[in-house]
């Protein structure tokens, strides 16, 4: 019961703030609601006992990426965008896609519901700590993708340095 309340609270928070992100005209307010949406998602992770994902979501998205977003937004002159009319020529395409996606999800859930049976969730005390699990899997089974991802990040970093520096 408590689990449900917590889940619906975070889920509603995430959805409402996600809607507010795209409807607010003030960019800073949009950024704040994006932070709220990300934190609400983190809350859902926590409720699923995925503590590691929760804290990574908080540190990386809310703490790292969003700080950079806000940093950049602060330097923009916002008066111009505040007085412009909001417009979007592709709104009909967006609406169509949203409807199609919604219908798809509804059908998938309607069909899948009768076929899927979820077992009883394991008690929280029986779960292995997720931090250790993530570490083990990352450094054994997914070693190669992990290393490739880090090389990709390194390339991106070097690229950024090369572009930012006039003289190396």
């Amino acid at each position: 019961m408590l689990d449900h309340i917590v889940f619906y609270f975070f889920a509603a928070l995430a959805v409402v703030s996600a809607i507010l992100v795209v409807t607010r005209r003030n960019v800073v307010q949009s950024a704040i609601f994006l932070i709220t949406a990300l934190l609400a998602t983190a809350g859902i992770f926590l409720q699923l006992h995925a503590e590691f994902l929760f804290i990574v979501q908080v540190i990386l998205y809310a703490g790292g990426i969003m700080v950079l977003f806000v940093f950049v937004i602060m330097l923009i002159n916002m008066d111009v965008s505040l007085h412009q009319i909001q417009f979007n020529r592709q709104w009909w395409l967006g609406l169509l896609l949203a409807l199609v996606l919604g219908a798809e999800l509804t059908i998938a859930i309607a069909i899948g519901r009768s076929h899927l049976s979820f077992g009883e969730p394991a008690p929280a005390s029986a779960l292995e700590p997720s931090t250790q699990l993530v570490g083990k899997v990352l450094f054994s089974e997914y070693m190669l993708p992990f290393e490739i991802a880090s090389v990709l990040l390194l390339v991106a970093m070097i690229g950024a340095v090369v572009m930012a520096k006039k003289k190396i």
Partner: protein, 440 residues
């Protein structure tokens, strides 16, 4: 059945009471840290510091808090009112939330999280939004520049602090605060001695992260008035201050937990040093005795009485701390000694760490912003990465090659120090090449 109910009540109420204590006591603690800072500063500058309110200024924080509460709350006309209103709250909430995973002694912990230390670091990092949004919403150039500096500084130094923490975590092999302290007990030494370079990097990075001198550029008064807090006044300003001092307590607690052995007594594993168990009581008795000695010399009757009351409280604390050492009491309540003495040692270490912060603040001149960034990116971050590698090597030497603790960690620390020396030398060289305006 009864046991189940009891268990449930304990599992809910103990964390709740702990949380209430933290929220209620932290503002007071922050106030007294401010007083302590003013007193330490006065001492180092051969002055007396606050002396008027209460004996030796002991009631000054309460008077200050009262003043801030009834001060007019000014919101600039052009400010973004909603964001201006709640920005300080973000900072305070983040700082206080971070306290929830800390273990102040084996008794006092709100939640022993599986990701404890990461949680503390990650949540306290969210406080930066309070600073950035507060600076932006004030609609003032000083505030905005202060906020920008603060954000840049926090993001840069968080990397160094994070890597320093990773070094400690490698040794502990866990993220839970409780188990980290347990691991140091098993090692027989604090991680500050196993990874001294990591500890040093963490000290520097934590000073920068809490925006304190010599890295207090976001609030450099000669350049930016008061940085992001320029437009704030009254209670909201006090909230920023509270967040800043809470953050100090948080970083000091992280350092204590990870590097200084948490609630462990010095030489916890050596029976020959068991006499240190008496130190808490003796210390309290000493402070109480000094209060009694000073009481008759107070100029006013009220101050005299207040001093006596403080002395009595100290003696009471000494008796409470001494109680678990009596065998009869220890047999009755076996958990009493680790609980009380653990909290004492933890708070003592946190206090000493904060004292170190103050000492550094009054000793060093402020850095320039480019110097700050260079120190962070070109010295501390490479050094902390080398430190992590060094600890990894030491662990391999110790666990797989059967080396002792001392040779393994000694060798890698030496190598890391060599790298530090090389990095510092390179910095020196660059500094000499730098031509200052007007000098050329």
């Amino acid at each position: 059945m009864l046991m189940n109910v009891l268990h449930f009540v304990i599992s809910i109420w103990v964390p709740l009471v702990c949380a209430l204590i933290i929220v209620a006591v932290l503002p007071l603690v922050a106030g007294y840290i401010v007083l302590m800072e003013r007193k330490v500063m006065a001492d180092m500058q051969a002055r007396l510091g606050p002396m008027r309110v209460g004996p030796h200024g002991l009631l000054q924080p309460i008077a200050d808090a009262l003043k801030l509460l009834i001060k007019e709350d000014i919101i600039p006309d052009e400010a973004d009112k909603v964001i201006f209103w709640f920005a300080p709250l973000i900072s305070v909430t983040a700082a206080m939330l971070a306290m929830s995973a800390l273990a102040i002694g084996p008794w006092f912990q709100i939640a022993d999280l599986n990701v404890g230390l990461l949680f503390i670091v990650g949540i306290s990092a969210l406080g930066i939004f309070g600073i950035v949004l507060g600076g932006w919403s004030s609609n003032s150039h000083y505030s905005l520049l202060g906020a920008l500096r603060s954000a840049a500084q926090l993001v840069s130094y968080e990397t160094a602090a994070g890597m320093a923490i990773v070094g400690g975590l490698l040794l502990a092999g866990t993220l839970s605060t409780r188990e980290i302290i347990q691991a140091q007990n098993d090692y027989g030494t604090w991680f500050a001695f196993a990874a001294p370079v990591g500890f040093f990097v963490y000290i520097v990075a934590s000073i920068a992260e809490t925006n304190r001198a010599p890295f207090d550029l976001p609030e450099a008064e000669s350049e930016l008035v008061a940085g992001y807090m320029t437009e704030y006044s009254g209670f909201r300003w006090a909230l920023y201050f509270l967040a800043e001092y809470t953050n100090m307590v948080v970083v000091a607690s992280i350092a204590t937990t990870l590097f200084l052995g948490g609630w462990l007594r010095p030489f916890a594993g050596t029976p020959a040093f068991n006499f240190l168990d008496y130190l808490p009581s003796v210390l309290m008795l000493g402070v109480g005795g000094y209060c009694f000695y000073r009481a008759p010399k107070q100029p006013v009757k009220v101050q005299n009485l207040f001093m006596l009351a403080v002395g009595l409280l100290m003696i009471l604390a000494a008796i409470i701390l001494a109680a678990p050492l009596i065998p009869a009491v220890a047999n009755l309540l076996p958990g009493l000694k680790p609980g009380l003495h653990g909290a004492f040692w933890f708070l003592l270490k946190v206090g000493l760490y904060i004292y170190l912060f103050m000492w550094l603040r009054f000793t060093f001149p402020r850095y320039r912003f480019d110097q700050l960034m260079r120190l962070g990116w070109q010295f501390l971050i490479p050094l902390s990465i080398v430190n992590v590698m060094g600890i990894g090597v030491a662990l391999v030497l110790h666990r797989h090659w059967g080396w002792g603790h001392l040779p393994a960690f000694g060798l890698t620390t030496l190598l890391t120090l060599l790298v530090a020396g090389w990095l510092g030398w390179e910095e020196e060289k660059k500094d000499k090449e730098h031509v200052f305006v007007g000098e050329a």
